[in-house]
Subunit: 385 residues, 2 copies
């Protein structure tokens, strides 16, 4: 075997051992050897190297079976950190994410809808610097920044191509933030990183095909296929909010008529509600429904039916093994998840595939985008060697 082949195999073995510890901690050296087919000596050598680099920790534990003490290995979660950012119309969320996907701390800052890209980017730099300083984060452990936002993102170049919610078009966010902060920057659509987070650390661990739906200021979806974000050709796969339902339907902000999101998203619901009386927030609308006001019962009832239709259409198109319902309309209002689930299973999902998937709640909720952005940055920028 050639020298570079040997080096390649060594690196592969290191990576294999590291990934096993990362995903199946706590675990013993013997289990790793058994699982990989590597010799005990090889495993011990690699574990020694990883411990020396500070990536893993050891602990003595009594194993449940025989009562013998054995040394178990775990990753040193805080040895690798990333900055996860959620950029939304009215808020900037930031968190430090460790190797286990835990959020070391998180904070939120208000943002005005008309804030310019320049202004937001400069603010991001100052927020990041300030947070690292106040929380005394060792910058050498931070492998990069991940940003999740609504819209279509060229993830390879880190360019925000198009975001109605932010009012941005063709903004080279990754490049500009890298120049300002010195960190590598990954940028992606918020639902894509959220689904990644739920797959790696949330509701859909172990799933082969998870679809995540987001119902809030927009309507969107994303798909994780065999552990990878399904992006499509322009990283715009999953834009179910702009699938057309009715060519004679209400106009959408995109210029088409009858887009799915016009039946569901918050601004459409508030727009309709405003025809009856001044309703400023979605909470007021739900309150009117609870009070039994007919128009509100109709409006939200119809939105829930279209959420169930969204589930059906996702199942027909992607045939996933699990579907996560998420977003403000699901997370913030008790009972909504259950109502949508019932509509799916009794009426709206095509009968032959009704048993083909699980409907799940988000487990990471509003932290999902920060965690997913952070994990994406780790995936892209952390190198073991």
């Amino acid at each position: 075997m050639k020298k570079h082949d040997q080096d390649f195999i060594k690196r592969q073995n290191r990576l294999t051992v590291f990934e096993i510890i990362k995903n199946q901690h706590p675990i013993s050296r013997a289990s790793i050897a058994k699982r990989t087919g590597m010799s005990a000596t090889t495993v011990s050598r690699i574990v020694g190297e990883l411990a020396e680099q500070g990536y893993i920790s050891e602990s003595e534990q009594v194993s449940s079976g025989l009562g013998r003490k054995s040394t178990l290995l775990d990753i040193a979660a805080s040895s690798v950190l990333s900055i996860g950012i959620e950029l939304d119309t009215h808020q900037i969320g930031i968190g430090i994410v460790d190797m286990k996907g835990d959020v070391v701390f998180s904070e939120a800052y208000p943002r005005t809808a008309d804030e310019s890209p320049d202004h937001t980017i400069v603010r991001l730099e100052s927020i990041i610097g300030d947070c690292l300083k106040r929380h005394e984060i060792d910058r050498s452990k931070v492998v990069g920044i991940g940003v999740g936002l609504p819209g279509i993102v060229n993830h390879k170049q880190g360019i925000v191509l198009f975001s109605v919610q932010l009012g941005w078009k063709n903004i080279p966010l990754a490049e500009r933030l890298k120049v300002l902060t010195g960190f590598n920057v990954a940028v992606d659509n918020e639902l894509k990183v959220k689904a990644l987070a739920e797959h790696l650390r949330g509701a859909a661990i172990g799933s082969s095909r998870t679809a995540l739906l987001g119902f809030g200021n927009g309507v969107g979806s994303s798909l994780i296929l065999e552990g990878q974000i399904y992006r499509g050709d322009w990283n715009s796969a999953g834009e179910i909010g702009h699938t057309t339902m009715d060519p004679n339907g209400a106009l959408c902000e995109c210029g088409k008529a009858g887009c799915l999101q016009t039946y569901i998203n918050i601004s459409s619901l508030l727009g309709e509600a405003g025809k009856i009386r001044p309703i400023r927030t979605i909470d007021e609308l739900f309150e009117a429904r609870r009070a039994g006001e007919g128009w509100a019962v109709h409006l939200i009832g119809r939105a829930l039916e279209y959420m169930a239709i969204t589930v059906n259409n996702i199942v027909c198109m992607y045939n996933p093994d699990s579907i996560i319902l998420s977003g403000e309309l699901i997370d913030r209002f008790p009972g909504i998840y259950e109502e949508v689930e019932a509509l799916c299973l009794t009426r709206f999902v095509w009968e032959p595939v009704r048993g083909s998937f699980h409907i799940l709640r988000s487990r990471l909720n509003e932290r999902g985008v920060i965690i997913g952005s952070g994990l994406l940055a780790q995936d892209w920028f952390f190198e073991l060697d």
Copy 2:
């Protein structure tokens, strides 16, 4: 290196050389060596083995550049054959498909809509036996049978789970046909194998993400991702015909209301047309449109709009690089393809992604399912060693 590793590498190298000749014929030994990084000796040895087995042929050709003669390699297409079958409500199509995806011959037999699975399967056996005999096909070259049909198929077990068009439910087609014919049998959804055929030998060679739409007796789609059929968890991905458009729409045969296919498929169109006057065939309906009868203009116009909507919804969900329009309604009526394309590009496709894909015609047309079924059987059952 261990013995079994060496064997593995040898097999891989053989396969690599074979695949290159298969996909890039005619090609010289030198080009193969250059492309693979293998030595000239290794390439020559492998080529020699493959030629001895009868899988490849050689020819002397004058290369365009220097005017020197060089020996070019090609696959011996007819050294490996498969039987491709298209099973539809009113017809059974059969063809012998060679390694290049060419159809050696094909025939069609009528089938009645109420023919029982037993009857159809026994007929298939007799049709296959008869065809092989009449066309003097060497059975030893036939690696297996592929069957494409409308409906949901458990492709791993070759069971037709559910087919409205055939009226079948839970029919173990592969097993039963294997017992009767002695051949290995692959069964799959017709649009999935059709897309595979277009990807391998038709309109979408070289594409990374091709979606194929079928507009005919049903409405469906399929997606080829990096050369593989995207199946989803139950092999039912792409069932766009049962995505819901309008919860208050017309009832679909599936029991739901407002399925996409109720606006487009032939039986729905004929059902609606029947309210005006007796219309028995889709040709009569198109004739009424050409004659300017208002209701027919409306009915087909609406169907075309929903075809464009189907394209939009596929683009939003899958973000493919190309979309093939196929099926009876597209293939048989001149001008329909152009009308749908124009609707897509002027009104119905979401503006931000309008430039993200090509709309293509099927190149294999009505032979697509036979070719795709045949190629699937070759992919599953042909082994080089």
